[in-house]
Symmetry: C2
Subunit: 221 residues, 2 copies
């Protein structure tokens, strides 16, 4: 048993060392780095597609996207961004700093202002792995149900900002938004919660402005 | 490195041994055991609530439900079933045979015809852990997007039956059902795919009939 524990600790220690190196790299380049974490189908790729479309005229962006298999997400985003790297994890349920470190080596970071890391679709395992990001963004969608923050408290507690997507579908699904908001606030008093719909565009400006502010603050450091 | 691999193999070997013991227990009791796997919010608990409501007058049922934390799912199901055991995994991203083995000890299996195991909401990690079930059922929902089978091929390949939930929301979301069906068929030629809506009830009879047949076949063995 103690042997198992020490190996888990060792994996996390190696991960954290690499994450520290990534953080140095992106800090010295003045890049704002977002680690986007959410369940399969919450709309991570759609959010990033629209974000790239809306912001790419304004600043240079880059994306890493993790999936077990396929390059579908990278293919969806590449029309809007010339630096999209797909990471396939095989049966791996989360990205590790090692993946990001390797993908960084394939990128030209000069002039990049924001780097998005779209994690593997999973609300649990990605939370524990530091990728050297500035901020973890936890993403939910109304079709998942209002109970998800309470049932997945670690992503809520760890998030520097949160997104509730698909609010255009509120009329069609049972979802008590007060329950959702209260559970989020109980677990995390600081992080802004942005309620939006990628499809309809409602609420999307708050997300774009949050990104602009993050990028400005990073450049000013 | 080889030490890490051998420990992973050891964890799976211990799991498989326990799963074998569980299988003997449920086989000798003539119980049909379903391991339900899907992303957070695909509707696993809602499916089981309605299943318990519709079938409990006909046969005795039991449920184990895995979540990181809270007893919300067990509380939702207990009005319809007197044997519901909530398993909290802490930060654990899947159920293991050890969890099921312990929960079984708290159940009275006499006369139970179907045992449902609702796995932790996660499309990845639960797939690799045998729980001694008769069949793994992979569950998707239309709001997750039509690309999920291709992006999560292991759950599709491992499933003995599959569910596509929330088809009542098809008019409101971009979802190409032909793409979904073709990806499923490419990965798994045998398993039935049941397209239904737990909320509206459409297609639900096919699921109930599949359960009745599974239970009959098990009892006849």
């Amino acid at each position: 048993m103690s042997r198992e524990v020490s190996i888990v600790e060792n994996v996390l220690r190696v991960n954290d060392e690499l994450a520290g190196m990534i953080r140095q790299t992106i800090d010295s380049a003045g890049i704002f780095c977002v680690n986007l974490i959410g369940a399969p189908g919450c709309g991570k790729t759609a959010l990033l597609e629209k974000t790239l479309r809306d912001l790419s005229g304004e600043m240079k962006l880059a994306v890493m996207v993790g999936d077990l298999t396929t390059a579908r997400d990278a293919n969806r985003m590449s029309p809007w961004c010339d630096q999209v790297v797909q990471i396939n994890t095989g049966k791996g349920c989360h990205l590790e700093a090692n993946h990001v470190h390797q993908a960084l080596a394939r990128m030209d970071l000069a002039k990049v202002k924001i780097l998005f890391i779209e994690n593997v679709g999973n609300l649990i395992c990605p939370v524990g792995f530091d990728l050297g990001q500035d901020v973890k963004v936890g993403m939910f969608s109304v079709t998942e149900g209002d109970d998800k923050p309470a049932k997945h408290p670690y992503i809520v507690a760890e998030s520097g900002a949160m997104i509730l997507n698909k609010i255009d579908l509120l009329p069609y699904v049972p979802f008590k938004i007060d329950v959702f908001r209260e559970d989020v606030r109980r677990l995390n008093q600081r992080a802004p919660l942005m309620e939006l719909s990628v499809t309809s565009g409602v609420g999307f400006d708050a997300w774009l402005n949050w990104l602009r502010e993050g990028s400005r603050n990073k450049a000013a450091r």
